[in-house]
């Protein structure tokens, strides 16, 4: 029995509450990330001077170290630095001493030590690549994985089932850099069907965009499709043994209706959840794919940032990833409420 709550509409209440929680969550994530990268080194004995001297060419003179310290505000207390960071996101931030300032417009996620550039535009320029990669792969794996999973579940024990589940196991087990390199070796060099994998913006040439992304899509989707096929299969098997499926059959519904309207609909609900989470967590898969295929998206940006120990870049990308995960979670929860009436409260 649902409590028929008075206004506001429960779904809206739910979304508003989740949005507010999201903001708090992001602030907490930013604090933790900030602490990890700025507080821990200090606790471990790293001096501000040592930190600053990492961003200078070798043999830093004291004067040069001091200049860097000032530019990056490393000499200020940590809470002040954190406050500046937050303020930068909202208001933008001026860097550098003197009057000629490097201005980092909002949302300013900091200023890259190494590249001497604001972090945000650099991340934004990687977004189209990562989004193209993620979107294409997601569609591919969702459609492919679910289709294979459904067929496997309905033909449990057949050759198709065993074969596709075997391939799925391989897909789940094989790392992207392995499948990716194999794909490159085979289809880019040996038989150059998809040579020269390079990102071309969709707006520039949609055909080339798609052609050049086919291999990365397949490689990334392979990993997830495998997972989704297994999940869908398990979900379908479970759902098809549910009592309400028996009821649907007892009503005399045609088998197709039973499978798709009653079975798949319910089996997809957990898939939707996992799908949302995976989209949010996709950065991990994107990193490997982008590194393997040398696609200049957020993943490569992250790798570059870590290699250079460029703290503002790492912080920025961590926050962006957290943001995507949180948003994906929110979308999933809302979707869930739409899909499953039991969740609406």
């Amino acid at each position: 029995m649902t409590a028929r709550a008075p206004a506001p509409h429960p779904v809206i209440t739910f979304i508003v509450r989740r949005l507010i929680a999201t903001v708090f969550l992001l602030i907490v994530v930013s604090m933790i990330t900030f602490a990890i990268f700025f507080l821990l080194p200090r606790l471990a004995g790293q001096t501000t001077r040592g930190l600053a001297s990492q961003y200078i060419g070798r043999n830093p003179t004291p004067a040069a170290v001091h200049a860097i310290e000032q530019q990056l505000g490393l000499d200020a207390p940590l809470p002040v630095q954190y406050g500046r960071f937050l303020r930068g996101i909202v208001l933008g931030e001026h860097f550098n001493a003197g009057t000629s300032k490097a201005y980092c417009p909002p949302p300013c996620f900091g200023y890259s030590f190494k590249n001497q550039q604001p972090v945000w535009p650099m991340m934004v320029s990687g977004l189209p690549v990562t989004i193209s990669l993620a979107a294409g792969a997601a569609i591919l794996w969702l459609v492919g994985g679910v289709a294979i999973g459904v067929i496997s579940a309905l033909r449990r024990g057949t050759l198709f089932d065993r074969f596709s589940m075997g391939v799925a196991l391989a897909g789940v087990s094989l790392p992207i850099f392995f499948t990716g390199l194999i794909a490159l070796e085979l289809f880019s060099y040996k038989w150059p069907i998809f040579p020269n994998v390079q990102f071309v913006p969709f707006t520039q040439n949609p055909l080339l965009w798609a052609r050049n992304l086919v291999l990365p899509w397949i490689v990334l989707a392979f990993l997830y499709a495998a997972l989704y096929a297994r999940l869908t299969r398990a979900g379908m098997l479970e759902t098809m043994s549910e009592d309400y499926i028996r009821t649907a059959r007892a009503k005399g519904l045609p088998e197709r209706t039973v499978i798709f309207k009653h079975g798949l609909r319910a089996a997809l609900t957990p898939i939707v959840t996992i799908f949302g989470m995976d989209i949010g967590l996709l950065l991990g898969g994107a990193i490997l794919t982008e590194v393997t295929f040398s696609l200049h998206g957020l993943g490569l940006f992250t790798v570059e940032a870590i290699q250079n120990q460029d703290l503002p870049e790492i912080l920025g990308v961590t926050l962006l990833a957290a943001f995507f995960i949180v948003i994906a979670n929110l979308v999933v929860d809302v979707l869930y409420a739409v899909v499953d009436p039991r969740v609406r409260r």
């Binding site: 029995m1 409590a3 709550a5 508003v16 509450r17 507010i20």
Partner: protein
């Protein structure tokens, strides 16, 4: 049959608190309901258990009966302190255990044990029977004379299982045997009080009888005290010395078993009993007939917002204005028989 035991906890407790193994006074459990966009405010409470009084004498069985949502399971969890009471008092062997901390409760867990409904899910499938039954001994670090294994095998024998099956896993046993394993585990620490929540409702009819007999035999042999929670009035009748009928978190009637079943006083009890199908076909002229019964209309109201005063008044055929405005107290109409009703049934007739 048995001698009358104390039936109610408050002032009228027969024989005083000293006689009762367990005495419950004004026991209350509310689950708060919250609402709000940012700050969750308490907007109400599910009154799962509300001002419940009863006591159980050593070696006796109290049956708690009622329909789903009446608060009987919550009461059981409060007694074993799996839940923290909102109000009231629980005395065990004269000691107030209402708000004992986890640490202080630990030694008492030896004395108060619980049996669960589902013999499938309450046993860890990865542990052997020996491991399951012996676990409480190890957890409580009990020193046993002959070692844990011998003790466990004795327990298995006691509940009618083959001691040789010490090393088998739960899935190798049938439902009834699993419930026996659960009982053996419960008995490992030689408890004084066992709270059994629907101990037989998941079992087949022919097995139910075995387990019910086992519980009775163990009680005779070991002097156990039971609080049996069940929805099946027939089972409760068989196993209990005293029976408390609950409705929407309250005890509406509390009496000795024979008194209650022979002459239920509360209209709800009467309706409940009349609803139980009886395995004796009614035939007139060779055609089956519908048995006469009191038909209650509608569903049990939500415990979130229970009806005021007498909670049963919305479904009661005898309800009058007073039932809607004044809550009937649980009073002792005749010795050992307490009823919370303004217009009790079976008053003219003598109770046995």
């Amino acid at each position: 049959m048995s001698t009358p035991v104390s039936t109610a906890g408050t002032a009228g407790a027969i024989g005083g608190a000293g006689d009762a193994l367990l005495e419950v006074t004004g026991l209350t459990k509310h689950f708060p309901i919250t609402r709000g966009i940012i700050f969750r405010q308490k907007v109400g409470a599910v009154q799962a258990v509300d001002q419940v009084d009863f006591s159980v004498a050593p070696g006796q069985t109290l049956g708690l009966v009622g329909e789903s949502g009446c608060g009987k399971t919550t009461t059981g969890r409060l007694l074993t302190r799996l839940l923290e009471p909102t109000g009231g008092r629980i005395m065990f062997e004269g000691r107030d255990i209402t708000h004992l901390s986890m640490g202080k409760m630990r030694p008492l867990r030896r004395d108060i044990q619980m049996i669960f409904q589902d013999p499938y899910s309450s046993l860890n499938p990865r542990h052997t029977v020996g491991g399951i039954v012996g676990a409480p001994l190890r957890l409580q670090k009990v020193k046993t004379e002959k070692g844990i294994k011998a003790t466990v095998q004795e327990l298995l024998e006691l509940v009618g299982l083959n001691p040789e099956h010490y090393n088998r896993y739960p899935h190798e046993f049938s439902g009834g045997q699993r419930q026996r394993i659960g009982i053996a585990r419960t008995l490992a620490l030689r408890p004084k009080l066992i709270v059994a929540d629907e101990p037989v409702s998941a079992l087949d009819v022919s097995i139910q009888a075995q387990v019910i007999n086992l519980l009775e035999d163990l009680q005779n042999e070991l002097g156990l005290t039971y609080v049996v929670i069940a929805h099946d009035l027939s089972v409760v009748r068989h196993i209990s010395d005293h029976v408390a009928v609950m409705y929407l978190g309250k005890i509406v009637e509390l009496a000795g078993r024979d008194q209650l079943y022979a002459a239920p006083r509360h209209p709800y009890t009467v309706a409940l009993m009349s609803a139980v199908p009886v395995p004796a076909p009614v035939r007139v002229d060779g055609r089956r007939q519908r048995r006469e019964r009191i038909r209650l209309s509608g569903d049990v109201p939500s415990p979130l917002n229970p009806p005021p005063a007498c909670r049963f008044h919305t479904r009661c055929w005898k309800a009058q204005e007073v039932c809607r405005t004044q809550e009937p107290p649980l009073t002792e109409l005749i010795p050992g028989h307490r009823v919370a009703c303004h217009f009790p049934e079976n008053t003219a007739a003598s109770a046995e």
